[in-house]
């Protein structure tokens, strides 16, 4: 299964809910304002680092670039994909849930 999260973890509970419900081993893709969850050194970092131990965590590159987030600031273990990679994940991982 693929879970997408498009909300900032600083503003909303979407990421928390996703992490509560996403089965271990499933894939989580951070898109739109959700990409801020991939930043190192924030109040949310520890949670996302822990998630990356039990889930595959991805972040959408074009959304990082739009927001000026340098690759060097991304949490280790979070993989950057482009829209083609998003499509591949949707194909490979089965049903998609959007945590809106």
């Amino acid at each position: 299964m693929l879970h997408t999260v498009n909300k900032s973890p600083f503003e909303r509970n979407a990421l928390d809910s996703c992490l509560r419900l996403a089965a271990p081993g499933s894939a989580i893709l951070l898109i739109e304002d959700g990409v801020y969850a991939a930043l190192k050194g924030t109040a949310q970092t520890a949670k996302v680092e822990a998630a990356a131990e039990t889930h595959e965590v991805y972040v959408l590159g074009p959304d990082l670039k739009a927001r000026g987030i340098e690759e060097s600031r991304i949490i280790g273990g979070v993989k950057i994909v482009d829209y083609g990679g998003f499509v591949d994940l949707a194909v490979a991982k089965g049903t998609v849930n959007s945590w809106l």
Binding site: T95, N97, S98
Partner: protein, 130 residues
Amino acid sequence: MSEEPVFDTQGVVRKFMFVNRKAPYGTIYALEILESVLISAAFEQDISVAFLDDGVFQIKKGHDPKDLGMKNFSPTYRALGGYDIEKLYVEKESMEARGLGPDDFVVKVQVVPAAELSKLMAEQDVLITG
């Protein structure tokens, strides 16, 4: 107007889950997702509805938005059974964090812990969030 393609869906039964996470009235999601739940019933699919996060407030008893001029769509949840939509789940953690219990709801639901809802979600073919 473009011509409308018709996709072959005959004999296919898929598992649909509507994932209701938003509070009612503050936004329209609760009302419009309910309309899509009702319509889906006509297609004889395997339908379930999950209420989690603020979505649990959608089925709180006693809604009365008439002073705001808004529609009270609350009775529709009770009508779902008549459409053979009987798999209604409430996530226990969301319910408890909001100080609610099973008696607070207008309709009979199964209260399930997150771990169980997680498994139910993973079994679906289609997840529609509103």
